[in-house]
Amino acid sequence: MAVQKLTIAKALNDSLRKAMEEDPKVLIMGEDVGKLGGVFRITDGLQKDFGEERVIDTPLAESGIVGTAIGLALRGYRPVVEIQFDGFVFPAYDQIVTQLAKMHARSLGTIKMPVVIRIPYAGGIGAVEHHSESPETLFAHVPGLKVVSPSNASDAYWMLQQAILSDDPVIFFEPKRRYWDKGEVDVEAIPDALHGSRVARTGTDVTLAAYGPMVKVCLQAAEAAAEEGKSVEVVDLRSMSPVDFDGIQASVEKTRRLVVVHEAPVFLGMGSEIAARITERCFYHLEAPVLRVGGYHAPYPPARLEDEYLPGLDRVLDAVDRSLAY
C-alpha cells in the first residue's frame, strides 16, 4: 500500500532503510546508532540488516564523527551522521563550519561533500540541560551548509532521502518532541522540492511562518483563531537554508500580515532574517510590521520552566492579535 500511517520516527527509519538499500555507499555513523538503534530508535534494526560496516557505532567524540565522515565522503561514501542531541553538536561545530561547509568551495568545485548531519533538536520533552536547544540559525548563517527540518511524517520520510541524495552537506534538524506524531506517508508520491515551503493551512487574514516543532503549534493556533472568526494561513518553511522567500512572499501578498514563530531565541534568529527580507519584498503590501515569536535571550531553562519559554498557543495568538490590531 502506497499510503501508510507512520510516526515521524518510523518514517525516518524507513527513509534511512530505503536510502541504504538504494545506494551501498550510504553509511550511518554516530553514538549508539547500532545495537541500540539510537537513543530515539531512529536507526532501529538497521545495523542488524546492513551490518556494522554500514551502521557504525562510534566513539563518543562529535568532532571525530563529523571529521571522519568528511574523510569518508572524500573517499566516495555518503555518510549520514547522528548527533545525539542538539547541544552536543558544538564539539563538532569546528569541523562542520571550517571544513565540511567549505570543502566544495576551497576545491573550486572538484570535491563534493554529501554528508547529512541528523540532529534531534528543540524542546518540550522535559529533558536536562543541552538536550532541548534550537541552534539552527548558527548553521543557516554558514555559507556551504543547507539546513532543513521536517514537521510531519511525510516530510520526514522524503526530506531525509532528498538530503542524502544531495551533494551538499545538509544539517537535518528533527523535531524530537514530534517523533511520535503520526501522519500519512505516500511512499510512491513525487515529493515536494527539499527547499520549498508548503502552505500547511490556507487563510486570508494573517500568515504564520514556522518550521519543525512549531508548525503544529501554529496549526493549533490557526484552529483556535478560526473559532474567533480569524482566518490564519500557516506556511511550513521546511528549509532554513535556503529559505523559500518566494513562498512566504506569495502568502504575505495575500494576507498582508506575517508572524514568524520558532523556538530559538528571537534575537538574530530566523525570524529576524525573514522579517527583513519580507519587509524589503512586501513593503507596500504589509498592513503591519512583521512580528516574531520565539525563545528569549537566555539559556534554555530547566524543564519545569520550558512551557513558559516555548512559544505556545497563547503567545502565537497574542501575536496574531497584535498584527491584526495595526
Binding site: 566513539p59 571529521g67 571522519t68 574523510g71 572524500l74 569546528d94 569541523q95 571544513q99 537554508s241 535556503p242
Partner: protein, 400 residues
C-alpha cells in the same frame, strides 16, 4: 633506537593489550625539556653523512631493511628533491618579502622529513597535508607553483586533490587528521591495500581532533600513518608548552606503535615511513611517526623567531642540516661529484625563475567567482545575491 623499541619491534593490531614499555612516561620524562634533550631516535645517516652501522646499532635493524633497495641513483634523486624544494621555498619567501605573496609558511630545515616520507608513498596512497608540506607536494607531482595561489590570495587551494591524491592544504591545525582517518576507514571498507598519511606538527598535537583521530583510527584499525613533524616550535610556543612526554609515546596510550625518527635524515624518514605504510597495508592499523626536526625559519613570514628563540639553538640545528648531510654522504662515497651539484644549482635556479614568473603573472580570479562553488546543487540565496551583484556591476557600464 626507538625509545618504545620493544613495543614497536613487533607490529601488532591495535586494541591488543601490550606490556608497558619499561621507560615510558616515567616522572623523569615528564620533567625533561624535550627540545633541549638529545633524544634517542631512528637514524641511518649521521649528521656527518656517515651510514649508521646496523650491526652495531640493533635498534635500527627493524627499519634498515626498508631502505636496503635504495641505490646511489635514488640517493641523488632525494638530494635533488630536497635542493629543489628548498630553492622553491626560498623563492616563495623572497616573493612574500617583495609583496607578491600575502604570506608564506617556509619548510626550511624540514626537507628530509618531507622528502623521506613523501618518497615512501605509492601513487594510490592518499596524503592529507597541513599547510607546510611543499616537499611532500613535490613528491606527489603537484606543480609547486600551484601551491602559491592560496598564499597569493587567488584561491584556497589551486589543485585537484584527486589528480595526485594530495588533499588541499588545511589551515585549521589538526583537522585533517580526522579526514585522513575517515578516508582510511573508507579504504579499508573498499578492501583496497593503499594507505593514508596525515601530516601535522607538534603544535597540532595539542588539538583534540588529533587525539580523536588517534582514537578512531585505533578503534577501527584504519590504514593511516600519522606523520608529525616535530619542528620544536608552534609559532612562538616551544614543545614544553605542548607536551610533558615525548610525542611519539602518545601512540601507546591509543594502542598503536609510535616511533621517533631523525627528521633531518632522509633515509631514516623513508625507512620508518615505509615500515609504517606496510603495517597499514597489512591491516595492522595506524602508526605515529614523530619526525624530530627543526624549523629553521619563521613559522610564517608574519612572525619573527629572533623574539622567541636563541641563536645557539638554531646554530646547533644548522649542523644537522638535512641537505648538507646527504651531500657529505654522496661526496664521501663517490655517489656524486661537483659537476652534479653544479648542474643541480642551474636546475634549481631555473625553478626559482619559473616560480617568480608564474607568481607575478598569476591572474586574479574572476569577480563572480565569489559566488561559484558555494554549493554543489545550487542555493536560492546565492543565486539571488549573484544576480544582484551582477546587476550592480553592470550598472557601471557606460555610466562613466
Amino acid at each position: 633506537m626507538t625509545v618504545e623499541s620493544t613495543a614497536a619491534r613487533k607490529p601488532r593490531r591495535s586494541g591488543t593489550k601490550r606490556p608497558a614499555a619499561a621507560n615510558a612516561a616515567k616522572p623523569a620524562a615528564a620533567t625533561a625539556k624535550t627540545h633541549d634533550a638529545e633524544p634517542q631516535l631512528v637514524q641511518l645517516l649521521t649528521p656527518e653523512g656517515v651510514r649508521v652501522d646496523v650491526a652495531e646499532n640493533p635498534d635500527v635493524a627493524e627499519f634498515a631493511p626498508f631502505v636496503a633497495d635504495i641505490t646511489t641513483d635514488d640517493l641523488r634523486g632525494f638530494y635533488r628533491d630536497m635542493v629543489m624544494t628548498r630553492r622553491f621555498d626560498g623563492e616563495a619567501t623572497a616573493l612574500q618579502r617583495q609583496g607578491e605573496l600575502g604570506l608564506w609558511a617556509s619548510l626550511l630545515g624540514q626537507e628530509a622529513a618531507q622528502i623521506g616520507s613523501g618518497r615512501a608513498l605509492r601513487d594510490d596512497d592518499y596524503v592529507f597535508p597541513t599547510y607546510r608540506e611543499h616537499g611532500v607536494a613535490w613528491c606527489r607531482g603537484v606543480d609547486p607553483t600551484n601551491l602559491l595561489g592560496m598564499f597569493r590570495g587567488v584561491n584556497h587551494g589551486g589543485w585537484d586533490p584527486t589528480t595526485n591524491n594530495f588533499h588541499l592544504y588545511t589551515i585549521v591545525i589538526g583537522s585533517q587528521t580526522l579526514h585522513a582517518t575517515g578516508y582510511a576507514m573508507g579504504v579499508a571498507k573498499d578492501g583496497a591495500d593503499s594507505a593514508v598519511i596525515a601530516y601535522f606538527g607538534d603544535g597540532a598535537s595539542s588539538q583534540g581532533d588529533v587525539m580523536e583521530a588517534f582514537n578512531f583510527s585505533a578503534v577501527y584499525n584504519s590504514p593511516v600513518v600519522f606523520f608529525c613533524q616535530n619542528n620544536q616550535w608552534a609559532i612562538s610556543e616551544p614543545t614544553e608548552r605542548q607536551m610533558r612526554v615525548p610525542l611519539y609515546q602518545r601512540a601507546q596510550g591509543f594502542g598503536f606503535p609510535g616511533v621517533r625518527v631523525d627528521g633531518n635524515d632522509v633515509l631514516a624518514c623513508l625507512a620508518v615511513t615505509r615500515w609504517a605504510l606496510e603495517r597499514a597495508r597489512r591491516g595492522e592499523g595506524p602508526t605515529l611517526v614523530e619526525a624530530f626536526t627543526y624549523r629553521m625559519g619563521a613559522h610564517t613570514t608574519s612572525d619573527d623567531p629572533t623574539k622567541y628563540r636563541r641563536d645557539e639553538e638554531t646554530a646547533a640545528w644548522e649542523a644537522k642540516d638535512p641537505i648538507l648531510r646527504l651531500k657529505a654522504h654522496l661526496l664521501a662515497t663517490g655517489g656524486a661529484d661537483e659537476a652534479y651539484f653544479e648542474q643541480l644549482e642551474v636546475e634549481s635556479e631555473a625553478l626559482g625563475k619559473r616560480v617568480r614568473e608564474v607568481v607575478r603573472t598569476m591572474p586574479d580570479p574572476d569577480t563572480m567567482a565569489i559566488f561559484e562553488n558555494v554549493y554543489a546543487d545550487g542555493h536560492a540565496l546565492v543565486d539571488e545575491e549573484r544576480a544582484q551583484f551582477a546587476a550592480y556591476l553592470a550598472s557601471f557600464e557606460g555610466g562613466e
